[in-house]
């Protein structure tokens, strides 16, 4: 993936091929239950770009996201944040929104406050960020509701606003709109677009081809734990070369020779 072709990008510092990846994986492997679930993944996430990860159910997308975010340790290879192993600095620079949002048993606002406190925000700045996040997610009216009574779409918006409130450099999203209606999907995509416009690097898993077309700068296509194909969205989403990606884009079922 080091040789991932580049193209013109709206983010000024990312348009040169020299833009060093902010996050890299080297020979990444993950084995569990005797199965090799992630195998030999080398990739680089470049700053300010939106990388979309696609692939079939069970391809290893969520695992890859968790490995990159440091939630699980690779059994092989390594993840590098700005050239160094993941540490506290990397943790504070990253945020993740899970496929099923995890809401604390507190009010909407207290959920924001908790995340901000953990990341060291306090006092007036924290209050300011809480208000901003509520406004961005259009949840002002629900600020004092228990977060867990919100609808799925509202919770997803809150989860995203909570992640963004901590001012991450990189944002991981695991199918953030998987169970949302079109209006909620649009709201989430708008938040992502806004974060990207303000310089946040985005790594997102999605099954939604339309969403990938709307949001992706780069695409990584996973197949059975390895990268089947990676490249700029303009290429990969129109003229994919690998079998699995081509079948996906064409809307066909890709059945592996070894399996069928």
């Amino acid at each position: 993936m080091r040789d991932m072709p580049t193209e013109l990008s709206p983010v000024p510092w990312a348009h040169t091929p020299a833009a060093a990846p902010v996050l890299e994986t080297r020979g990444l492997g993950f084995v569990a239950g005797g199965r090799s679930l992630i195998r030999g993944i080398d990739l680089g996430i470049r700053p300010g770009r939106r990388t979309v990860i696609m692939g079939a159910n069970g391809a290893g997308k969520s695992l890859l996201l968790r490995l990159m975010h440091g939630l699980i340790r690779p059994t092989k290879g390594e993840v590098l944040w700005r050239g160094a192993p993941l540490d506290r600095t990397a943790r504070d620079a990253q945020a993740m929104v899970f496929q099923r949002p995890v809401m604390l048993r507190r009010s909407v606002r207290a959920n924001l406050r908790f995340a901000l406190s953990v990341r060291g925000f306090a006092g007036a700045e924290r209050a300011e960020r809480e208000m901003q996040a509520l406004e961005q997610a259009r949840l002002q009216d629900l600020a004092h509701r228990p977060a867990r009574v919100l609808s799925g779409g509202e919770q997803q918006r809150l989860a995203l606003a909570r992640a963004l409130a901590t001012a991450p450099e990189i944002l991981f999203l695991d199918e953030p709109t998987a169970s949302l209606d079109p209006a909620s999907t649009k709201a989430v995509e708008d938040l992502v677009a806004r974060a990207h416009a303000s310089g946040v690097t985005v790594v997102m898993v999605t099954h939604d081809l339309g969403q990938a077309r709307r949001l992706a700068d780069d695409v990584i296509f996973l197949h059975e734990g390895t990268i089947a194909e990676a490249g700029p969205a303009s290429v990969l989403l129109t003229a994919p070369r690998s079998g699995p990606a081509r079948a996906w884009i064409d809307g066909r079922l890709y059945l592996d020779d070894r399996k069928s």
């Binding site: 975010h69 939630l71 604390l104 048993r105 507190r106 228990p146």
Partner: protein, 235 residues
């Protein structure tokens, strides 16, 4: 011998007239039990939360031991506390035997494992749900503990009520270490036992009624808390 009907009427008369002896006994019972439950929560909540939220060697063993201690036989606890506090025991010089303090100690020993074990379970279940979010944010061990305790607060209220229910109805341990001394260590359960054996059924029955009402109130409390929790999507 009075008719059963007459005894019940006399017992209710004692309650309604605010009989001084009865009130003294009820107040001492509540003082001992509430003190013991408070102490048990002070020890058991952080202990249970730590075992439920932190990963450390021996954690599984502690969880098993806590669960086993929930079933401690009260008379054995009473005997052990008696031996510790008796004149010849290591804490003899404190002269605590046959005082309300001795009863509080015995009840605390009985209730703390209940609070700790139920807290551990509640916190561990919640931690399973929260752990990835916490890891993602980088939540440290102390904040993890306090956040889980706070988020489990409604469930923990029912834990405290369960501890209260066990302590207030307990008789064996407080009988041994308290001695059931009139005006000093006489609580509801020990009085019921004594007065019944003496054939003084009015007072025994009156205290029985009070104890039953307390049990009802505790159960109503648990149900109310569950209702609140469901409405606030706390489950």
């Amino acid at each position: 011998m009075q008719s059963e009907h007459g005894i019940l009427a006399a017992a209710l008369g004692l309650i309604l007239s605010g009989d001084a002896d009865l009130i003294e006994i009820v107040v001492l019972s509540l003082r001992v039990t509430l003190s013991a439950v408070l102490l048990s929560c002070v020890i058991g909540l952080p202990l249970g939360a730590a075992v439920g939220a932190w990963r450390f060697p021996g954690r599984g063993l502690i969880a098993v031991v806590l669960n086993a201690l929930m079933g401690l036989p009260p008379v054995v606890v009473g005997l052990a506390v008696y031996l510790m506090l008796s004149a010849a025991g290591p804490f003899g010089p404190l002269r605590l035997l046959y005082t309300p303090s001795a009863m509080i100690i015995a009840q605390t020993i009985l209730v703390t494992p209940i609070v700790a074990a139920l807290t551990r379970q509640a916190v561990e279940d919640m931690d399973r749900e929260y752990s990835e979010q916490f890891a993602s944010l980088g939540v440290g061990p102390m904040r993890r503990l306090s956040a889980l305790l706070w988020d489990a607060r409604i469930g923990l209220l029912t834990v405290a009520l369960a501890g209260f229910g066990r302590a207030v109805a307990e008789v064996g341990a407080v009988m041994i270490v308290g001695g059931n001394i009139n005006h000093v260590t006489r609580v509801m359960t020990t009085t019921i036992a004594l007065e019944t054996s003496k054939g003084n059924l009015q007072l025994a029955l009156a205290l029985g009624v009070v104890l039953l009402m307390l049990a009802l109130i505790v159960n109503a409390g648990v149900m109310a808390v569950r209702g609140v929790s469901a409405r606030a999507a706390h489950a």
